[in-house]
């Protein structure tokens, strides 16, 4: 898989490139600022992007804006956004288009190499991977009306789905069987009135429904 990487710190850029390449990705372009990022995102060979939120020249949220812009031009283009801090607001903006293929993680999650790499793969495959901190912030709000229909267990499963975990991982985390997880997920799909589609797509829809309310 061919990636575009944007990260302004030279050390981190080199580290990330090494990390991704040693895990079977090809880093097509590794850039350090917003203008260069906008340029390389036009490369039709790129399959996905890993982008830091804060980039020069403005040192604000250049990376996030570039990610949103490229997804407006290339709908569903997978982007993994990483940052020193996460904002619920930014997660919402990234997913506002209603398409999957979005990841939003704290930078230090990179330290769990296997999970980070897995996250990038899930995003490239059209899934959503949200940082547990974002998920916790959304869970703290108690106004999700249609989600009141979900049982506490179903809500837990949905939160883990938002973090981009597989059924097996969810089962492991909640100490239940994979079959039970599948049952909960079906319950979530029917309670949220999600139209029938392939499973991956419905997972993304469920997470979006949860995020937008």
């Amino acid at each position: 898989m061919r990636l575009v990487l944007a990260e302004d710190h030279a050390l981190l850029r080199a580290g990330m490139t090494q990390l991704l390449e040693s895990n079977g990705f090809t880093v097509l372009h590794a850039v350090a600022d917003g203008d260069a990022l906008a340029e390389v995102l036009r490369d039709p060979d790129a399959d996905a992007a890993v982008v830091d939120v804060r980039l020069p020249p403005s040192q604000t949220d250049e990376g996030l804006r570039a990610a949103i812009a490229v997804r407006a031009q290339r709908p569903g283009f997978p982007v993994m956004v990483i940052s020193q801090y996460v904002e619920h607001l930014y997660a919402r903006e990234l997913l506002a288009s209603g398409e999957g293929g979005v990841g939003y993680l704290l930078k230090d999650r990179v330290s769990d190499v296997a999970e980070f790499v897995d996250g990038v793969r899930r995003v490239a495959a059209g899934g959503t991977v949200l940082d547990p901190e974002v998920v916790a912030a959304i869970m703290a709000r108690r106004r999700e009306r249609p989600l009141d229909r979900l049982t506490p267990r179903e809500r837990e499963v949905l939160a883990l789905m938002a973090e981009g975990r597989s059924n097996a991982a969810i089962a492991g985390h909640l100490v239940v069987t994979e079959k039970a997880v599948a049952k909960h997920i079906n319950g979530i799909f029917s309670k949220l009135d999600l139209p029938p589609a392939d499973d991956d797509h419905r997972r993304v829809r469920a997470v979006l429904a949860w995020l937008h309310l």
């Binding site: 020193q84 619920h88 106004r143």
Partner: protein, 383 residues
Amino acid sequence: MSEPSRLRLTGYAAAHLLLGVVALALAILTVVGGVLMVVWVGGLLLVVAVPATRLVADAHRRMAADVLGLDVPRPYRPVPRQPLAALVAVARDPMSWRDLGWLVWACTFGWVVALLCVLELLAVLTWPLWWVAVRPTMQLRSHVDLWFLASSRTEKLERRVQVLTETRAEAVDHAAGELRRLERDLHDGPQARLVALSMSLGLAEQALADPAGDPARARRLVTDARATTSAAIGELRAVVRGIHPPVLADRGLAGAVEALALDMAVPVHVEVDLPGRPPAPVESALYLGVAECLANVGKHAGAAAATIALHHVGGRLRVVVTDDGVGGADPDAGTGMLGIRRRLASFDGTMAVSSPPGGPTEIVLEVPCDLSWPRTTRSSAPG
């Protein structure tokens, strides 16, 4: 402000005539009271005369302000409760002496000026004269009134210097306190974690260097080191948020307030009408103010919904936070609210709280400031 009509001006003149008589009485009372102070009886007269004079002066100040279209604040210094201290404070307030001078003017020349205006209207033949002269005459009278009754430039500057001295001292104290807190947070948090981290790595190094060492132990130590690193990064993140929230740097006040609203448990509607961005320190103070207000809404108000409105009107940035909770918020009770007031005071800003028992609560934060970098107006749906 619209100019008062000629009839209203004449009405004021009539009031001046009546109050001129009161002024005469008060002038006599004050002088007699002052003289009799040597045998203390005068004190009793002054207890009546001074507040009455201030009342009459207030009425004239308001009338003059209306005639001239000015905004005239009440210039008296605060009067302590203890009677002797109050007497000393009144005697030392230059405004008291100016009031006395004004009493003399109001019952003599000033009274004649007012009489002219009223007579011109009453004697039917002089109506043309009245039509032409009443406005300039009353403006003259009002100017002289305010010359006595409004604080002079020096007094205004003295007061300003006093306010600036107080707010500067508070700002310096606050900044020093923040630095101490920051030092403590870094010392107890990330710094301690980094020490632990280097210790874990040192032990791991030792375990790996020892040919008889236990590789499983080295591996455990490295795993520990990674966990410690994550904790240190988390703590640094918390410290950074406390200094200057990154979302405020990214998006300015409007975006940062939206982000705050989004993280609330209750729905918060955000309404933004800012053609540009205020200076960064003002943004920071207002952001922390809104954060505190919302924290209170979450903790105490028991509200079902809240609204935040940001507007820039007449050179002032105005943030209004309302909620439909139980009310009864006391701005003088918590350190949080006092903190907001102190922060805003550094920018000549104010905080007003209206929170009757039963609600709703409305908190208005206002800071005079200019906006820069014109940007498109943004508005958002409930967050």
